[in-house]
């Protein structure tokens, strides 16, 4: 049993190292694209099969986004980002729960003893992905805030003159806000990584300790955690977006 915080390298294309997490991310996106394109190509007025499921997800998400942003136009604008985050994170979390995750892989000699490099590793259990996604989310949040309020009004959220009403206190609060914008990056990426990675480790450890039945409740727990983390990432992005686009209340 080998536990590695970093995603393991399977092979290289040129100088680019293809890790198991990256491979899974790639496969998840390709299958997501295929299913979505396939379904949206043959939409029928009376929904059937997969269309039902996608419609349920889409309508629920659109309703939720609408309830937060309170603007139909903006809901439609940000719907793709929020939905893609949710779907992609959800699927990559759940892929890590498939049988074979962490156990089936390339035999690998490391420091004199044999280990396995698993083929399946949840994309979310790789910091490269969670940081990349957080960067995108935070960038979109900042950019939307600036676009909605203008650079001066947006900047006034963080740089408050100490000679106005709360005198100095506002200035400190503004600076704290600025720090928290950067903290978002860390909290976003490490929350998702930590939860999913810990879940995978937990399952592997449980499997090694008691192979039958005992890991089942943990498996259910991890299914739930995978959903919750996807929802949290998407919802937080949405809420931060709304906050960024709202004028400061001072």
């Amino acid at each position: 049993m080998e536990i590695s915080i970093a995603a393991e390298k399977l092979f290289s294309i040129g100088s680019f190292p293809v890790t198991n997490a990256f491979l899974i991310g790639f496969l998840v996106s390709v299958s997501l694209m295929l299913v979505s394109v396939f379904v949206s190509r043959r939409l029928t007025l009376v929904p059937r099969g997969v269309q039902n499921v996608l419609e349920l997800i889409f309508e629920g998400l659109l309703g939720f986004i609408d309830s937060v942003l309170e603007d139909k136009q903006q809901s439609r604008k940000f719907f793709p980002l929020i939905t893609t985050i949710f779907l992609f994170v959800l699927l990559s979390n759940w892929v890590g729960l498939l049988p074979g995750a962490g156990t089936v892989g390339l035999a690998h000699m490391q420091e004199g003893h044999a280990t396995i490099v698993p083929f399946l590793r949840s994309t979310s259990a790789d910091l490269n992905f969670t940081i990349a996604l957080s960067l995108i989310a935070v960038f979109v949040i900042q950019f939307s805030g600036i676009a909605a309020l203008g650079i001066i009004k947006y900047g006034q959220k963080f740089f408050v003159s100490p000679f106005h009403k709360p005198y100095g206190l506002g200035t400190i609060m503004g600076l704290l806000e600025l720090v928290s914008e950067f903290a978002k990056l860390l909290s976003f990426s490490f929350r998702l990584f930590g939860n999913v990675f810990a879940g995978e480790i937990l399952l592997v450890v449980m499997l090694h300790l008691v192979p039958y039945f005992i890991p089942l409740p943990f498996l259910f727990l991890e299914v739930f955690v995978g959903f919750i983390q996807a929802a949290v990432f998407a919802m937080l992005t949405l809420v931060f977006l709304k906050m960024a686009m709202t004028e400061a209340a001072h």
Binding site: F22, M33, V37, V39, S40, L45, P80, F88
Partner: protein, 161 residues
């Protein structure tokens, strides 16, 4: 940098993941979200339209029923008045005809009576004349043998007075 490497952070992989996600985002937005949302909107519009149409149809149906009822009522009352009028006119005509018939009968009877009376008078006069003649002739016959001229004259005179 050492710490980042220990966490497995590799800028090449990080960029690749970001690009991967962005490609997914744009492909889904172009080929899935937009058609799907448009479709959902279309359908909800259509359902709304359908509901509105159904409501309008119901209102129209109620109006039609109302109108039908009104028309029926009007037709019924008209029919009744026509029948009443027909009955009244029939009764009137019956009465007229009765009066006419009565008058005609009376006239005929009257005429008949007058004619009978005339006939009777005529027959009476004729009978009188004939009887007188017969009597005269028979008297003449009887008297011619027993009565002379003087007596004859006397009788003529008497009968003339």
């Amino acid at each position: 940098m050492e710490a980042l490497a220990n966490l497995g952070i590799d800028w090449k992989l990080l960029t690749a993941q970001a690009v991967n996600f962005l490609i997914l985002l744009f492909v889904l937005r172009r080929f899935a979200y937009r058609p799907m949302l448009d479709f959902l909107e279309q359908r909800s519009d259509r359902i709304e339209q359908g509901l509105k149409d159904a409501e309008a149809a119901q209102v129209k149906l109620a109006q039609m029923e109302e109108r039908e009822k009104a028309t029926l009522a009007a037709a019924r009352s008209e029919a009744r008045s026509i029948v009443e009028a027909a009955e009244a006119s029939a009764k009137k005509r019956d009465a007229e005809r009765l009066i006419e018939t009565e008058a005609a009968t009376k006239r005929f009877t009257e005429e008949a009576r007058v004619k009978i009376e005339e006939e009777k008078q005529k027959a009476l006069t004729e009978a009188k004349q004939e009887i007188a003649q017969v009597v005269t002739a028979s008297v003449e016959k009887i008297l011619k043998e027993t009565v002379d001229a003087a007596k004859d004259q006397d009788i003529i005179k008497k009968s003339l007075h």
